[in-house]
Symmetry: C2
């Protein structure tokens, strides 16, 4: 199969969106950015066996690769315009490509985001590079630097699920016996098919002060907001929202109670806002702390005592925290 | 070194351009696209030992990775807005990163294009994914589909140099003895530091009918224009512009005379235009043929006789043509 045949067969769905002037088949794709809005762009690279287990189903690889990037856009409060896909493949396996494309396009259709271009190359290692393009009003963009002293700190959905899901995939023998199969499935689904919070990010853009998506771990990602905003924070450990599956895991293995603070890959939105704006939240979110003038990040238990912090998060060139 | 330290040390030069609202350090970069212009975007992936010899100097890897993408923008007649870089590294080698960044930024400075974001990950194989962002007036974009019967076919600069340069790098024992060192150096420089024809592309956008950049080989790339425009072409072999170094190589090894037609990596602009517009060309370009109503591509010698064609070009999932 030639590169052109591969693209024609798997990656040539039409772009119905009026925003796309030209997609595929030329030197560049061409898109319209809404008048008055800024172009938003983010690039992520995912390497097999590093960013996802090598045995991950190709549907999930395609789904997650796009989800991770849409999540970056969500964290800015942006609206998707299009996406490019760089695909480095050890070989051409039609069944793999079919399922990968199906996963990618399944999520793309949910968010009306069009694959406008990319590159397909041979490489000894499977890797993906995705660049998401979107737009937002410059004055409404959700930056990391806007947190203000007294702001509530909140997070969408639940955290820690993907971390438990990864452990379930990589070390199935360590899954607590008390966990039910549907709970294990749920955690793995959260790992493999994260939900980018695009619509919630757009709502938050109207009033939140700062936001990012939790990709490297709650604590590490929160420190990015704190340093960009030059503030500190108190976090209440017991208020961190956990799924019933994560709660079941921790109940069976109490030593994993701090894991949700450092596990990555949840792709929930972590944000700060004025207390009086909390009433405007009409989606799943939980207050987990407060921005302080005192610098640093303190995790406290229900009694207000400081809890010693685990490893903060994931860094690609430091020791890997979560495996 | 952590990922954040790596970015801070090597990839954090400021973006002076007014077009850049936000670069690095947030979930997305934010850029302004000039009012009324379309956003242009192109992604390329380069894998070590496949798209460039593994021994390529890191300065050249950085330079060429950006050049290849700027060339895609040039082929649309676009103006650069910014670029993202996905860097997959087997390990952190400060000397390599220093030189790579120097090469990348050297070319970036020439074109006032700002590195606005990206991703740095660990991978068993060195690879780069670059997404270039630019803009152009939608009505002026140089597409592949605009070639008209009777158009002249022309190409900027000279072709075939990078192909000979690659052979000189990979098989130095096959370099003809008659070649002088400065000629060998020139061919390798053309391979390692191609010149993206950004300003020439912007001029061509005013009147050319179709264009692309020669990355896969002159013949193969020309067929892309022909099929997109639903036309054919006559190409005059003797009119294909060759550097004095390429001419010296062919003089010493006549069997390589057709190589410049199929060798890739030159990143010259191949374009078509009305004969009466030829006088508007004020840069290095050569007429090499004419668009015909008869479909297909015919290469002719000076007497008008058809020359049998060599392998057409490079395809990543077909047999590799040039090695």
């Amino acid at each position: 199969m030639t590169e052109f045949e591969l693209i024609a067969r798997y990656f040539s769905r039409p772009c119905p969106d009026d925003a796309v002037i030209l997609a595929g088949g030329d030197d560049c794709a061409a898109l319209r950015v809404p008048a008055g809005e800024a172009l938003l762009v983010s690039t992520d690279v995912l390497v097999s066996d590093r960013h996802f287990p090598a045995a991950t189903a190709p549907f999930d690889v395609g789904y997650k690769a796009l989800a991770v990037n849409l999540s970056d856009l969500a964290a800015m409060g942006g609206t998707p315009l299009g996406v490019t896909l760089g695909l480095a493949l050890p070989s051409v396996e039609p069944a793999w490509l079919h399922d990968f494309a199906k996963g990618f396009y399944t999520l793309a259709a949910k968010h009306q985001v069009c694959l406008v271009g990319g590159d397909t190359v041979k490489s000894p290692v499977l890797s993906l590079s995705i660049t998401i393009l979107g737009s937002a009003l410059p004055a409404k963009m959700l930056k990391r630097s806007g947190a203000a002293v007294g702001d509530l700190i909140a997070v969408t959905g639940t955290v820690g699920d993907a971390g438990f899901g990864l452990r379930a995939v990589l070390s199935p023998s360590t899954i607590p016996a008390a966990l039910r199969q549907h709970e294990i499935n749920y955690l793995q689904e959260r790992l493999n098919r994260p939900t980018p919070r695009v619509a919630w990010g757009q709502k938050l853009a109207q009033f939140a002060h700062a936001a990012l998506d939790v990709s490297d771990g709650l604590l590490q990602d929160l420190t990015h907001i704190l340093s960009a905003s030059n503030v500190g924070a108190d976090l209440i450990l017991n208020d961190v929202p956990l799924s019933s599956a994560a709660q079941a895991w921790i109940a069976a293995e109490p030593s994993s109670a701090l894991r949700p603070l450092s596990a990555g890959d949840d792709y929930e939105l972590l944000f700060t806002l004025r207390e009086e704006d909390w009433a405007r939240i009409d989606f799943q979110a939980t207050v987990i702390g407060r921005i302080t003038a005192e610098s640093g990040l303190r995790v406290r238990d229900a009694a207000g005592n400081i809890v010693p912090m685990p490893v903060a998060g994931f860094d690609h060139f430091a020791a890997r925290a979560e495996l």
